[in-house]
């Protein structure tokens, strides 16, 4: 099961109590959205799940494993950043292959997975290009592809829709949800979105 369990999560930055006693259960294949005004702690919570912020107190579990203090690379998660964070000096192919290379997948495996993900997202024509040669929507899809190829247990999205218009946003949400159902590994997703109020 790829559930994500958050228990009594707290985060303090010196005197600022950014995240107060958060409890959350996310079931396998569940799609969760964290909504709230800016500054309420949703990105910090997401970053703690990702391993980018240390946890002041509380626990986070993925699939019965406690992942507190584990470096991000050992958590089997993928994250899509608000500004996509594509590696500017690498081609689209290399961007998507990077994670697999870091985990020592063999070359054919990598090629197969990248091709597969690229076709799902409609970016297979762009594999040789560099990020600066892509449009905003294309970069979005590369960022998604980078996350998908690894078939991770958990997907995290930080304000993914704030850069897109409503049409594209719902299409993207739909296709990312669907792309996970085909794989054998258990997965769940959580997203943050700034509230519109």
């Amino acid at each position: 099961m790829a559930q994500v369990i958050i228990r009594s999560l707290n985060k303090r930055f010196d005197e600022v109590h950014a995240v107060k006693d958060v409890n959350l259960d996310i079931r396998d294949k569940e799609f969760v959205v964290l909504v709230g005004p800016s500054g309420c702690g949703k990105t910090t919570t997401l970053r703690m799940v990702a391993g980018l912020e240390s946890i002041t107190s509380g626990r986070i579990l993925i699939d019965d494993r406690v992942i507190n203090n584990l470096p991000p690379m050992d958590r089997d998660i993928a994250m899509v950043f608000q500004n996509y964070a594509l590696y500017p000096h690498m081609s689209v192919y290399d961007n998507m292959a990077f994670g697999l290379r870091m985990r020592k997948f063999d070359r054919d495996d990598i090629a197969r997975r990248v091709q597969e993900a690229a076709e799902i997202l409609g970016i297979h024509e762009l594999l040789r290009r560099k990020p600066r040669q892509l449009s905003g929507g294309q970069r979005q899809r590369v960022a998604l592809g980078r996350a998908i190829v690894r078939h991770p247990q958990v997907f995290l999205f930080d304000e993914p829709l704030s850069n897109l218009d409503a049409n594209c946003a719902s299409r993207c949400a739909w296709s990312s949800k669907n792309s996970t159902t085909g794989s054998a590994r258990p997965q769940s997703m959580s997203r943050t979105t700034r509230s519109r109020r």
Binding site: D64, R65, V66, I67, P71, D74, R75, D76, R103
Partner: protein, 313 residues
Amino acid sequence: MTFTTLATPTAYAGSPRRGPVTRLLEDERWLALVLLLPTIALLGLFIAYPFFKGVELSVTDAKVGVPGKFVGLQNFEQIWNDGIFHVAVWNTCVYTAITTVLKLALGLWLALLLNNNFKGKAFTRAFILLPFIIPTVLSTLAWKWMFDPTFSVINWMLYQLGIIHSRINWLGDPNLALVSVIIVNVWRGVPFYAISLLAGLQTISPELHEAAAIDGARAWQRFRHVTWPLLLPVTLVIVLFSVIQTFADFQLVYVLTGGGPANATQLFATYAYQIGIGTGLLSQGATISLAVFPVLLLVVIVQLLYIRRVETH
């Protein structure tokens, strides 16, 4: 839900195994230590250690090949009473003060000129830096040749223009030698000032000038009230570097005059060299070198404080 889970953090099944070194370097603090180690080692060995050794030397009576014994503040007493040392201090202060003012004024003028658009601007800017790029001793040698009393091209030019009637002994006349050294230092430093100030000028939006002009400010007023205040932080940083470098200058004087004639151009550094290496009186040389330190510290502190004050406005 009760915890039938593993209580210690575990990586996901199938994650690559990591060695102990890798795990250690995942910790920010250990990684920082490893990354900083080469730098700390080199700087510690070849800056911190010599500095303390210099202090140690200055309180002994070591000479070349002869280890010294502790003599307290005897060396400091000696240079305090040394007439040549006084001259060196005076020369260094005058040299630094005059060259800095001239370099700043001329550098600023040149920067303002370069801040316009004209054909060949990039080209000019590249060539202008040559005095700063070319190794100092080599260009100073050219100046020494230009100043040569018998063959000087500068004398020739001044003679042709009717300004002089007999030769000027630029480097041999004790009254003129410091002037000559100042000229060369300014020549060398103006490009650095100009290019750095130019970069500072280019960060000032032209709209500010236009607004001031519309408000009725003339060129000089615009400079004084718009350009200069915005340029001040950059200027202070440049001046800080320049003052320290000039105070500790060695190459220029060594090549041009060696400190003479009759100590007319003797500076801290050249005197320290003469005594420490030339005569082999290591401890005294070290003392003279160290005498620069308090002044340097003062200059650095004053300017850092001033910079901080300007920046927080």
